[in-house]
Amino acid sequence: MKAAVILFPGSNREQDAIRALEKITGKIPSIVWHGEHALPAGIDLAVLPGGFSYGDYLRCGAIAARAPIMDAVRAHAQRGGLVLGICNGFQILVEAGLLPGVLMRNANLRFICRMQHLTVERVETPFTSQYAKGQIIKVAIAHGEGNYIADLETIARVEGEGRVAFRYCDARGGRGGDANPNGSVNDIAGIYSQRFNVLGLMPHPENLIDPLLGGTDGAGLFESVARFTKAA
């Protein structure tokens, strides 16, 4: 599988994404600067990593979403190519209009950095085939603006089309209350595009790929992508 990790000014999780991709797919991804106008030929997956692009100025992800490379990312998605936006990458994808809704300041106004349980909502997607349906995974979250909202009509459409990828929950799968860290509507932690080839999520699966670092529950996402692109 060929992957590219997009580097924006202020990205800071790109090495984590690169390490996860290399460890699980066996191939070192290319790094693409945001000022480029094209992705490397023949890539299967474009990753927008976490961080604080442009220092979160204006709105988180807003300036990066207008970077020259984003037209190429949009074209890649339109061709059916896979796009994964993690944390700030998710914020960039919603600002770029590749995913619906918006990520607002956490409801409690705090930057939250902790381990968090999620439910895997569906497993017949390029990003989750290596998980079990309804599986509860434990990954890291680290964000100040992860409070997902959209208008009621959009939420109804996203829910109706089964486009919620992950929901926040507690260790037993219970939802709401303290299990929802940031106030996201319907406990939404990640969503898919209409064709399920674009995924944006606030949590950091790329940090949970090694038992030494607290668990391997994030590995399934990268294994899924690797398997999908091998089959394609």
Binding site: L58, R59, A62, R66, V102, R105, A107, N108, L109, I149
Partner: protein
Amino acid sequence: MKAQVVVTLKSGILDPQGKAIEGALKSLGIDGIGSVRQGKIFEIELAANDRTAAERLLRDACEKLLVNQIVENFQVEIL
């Protein structure tokens, strides 16, 4: 030519920052405040001298970057 763009959150959108400010004002004993919502002001200098062209340009700037119209409203004012 100078202009001001005011960006505010749409009604119904939760504004935790505004809420926190509202709470702080109340705790300072500043009475009579019903609610606070926080927005942004952009002060912009323009090369254009034509008001209509300036307004069009600013609307374009708002729609393309300054405003996320999912959650925000804007007002353009030429000074």
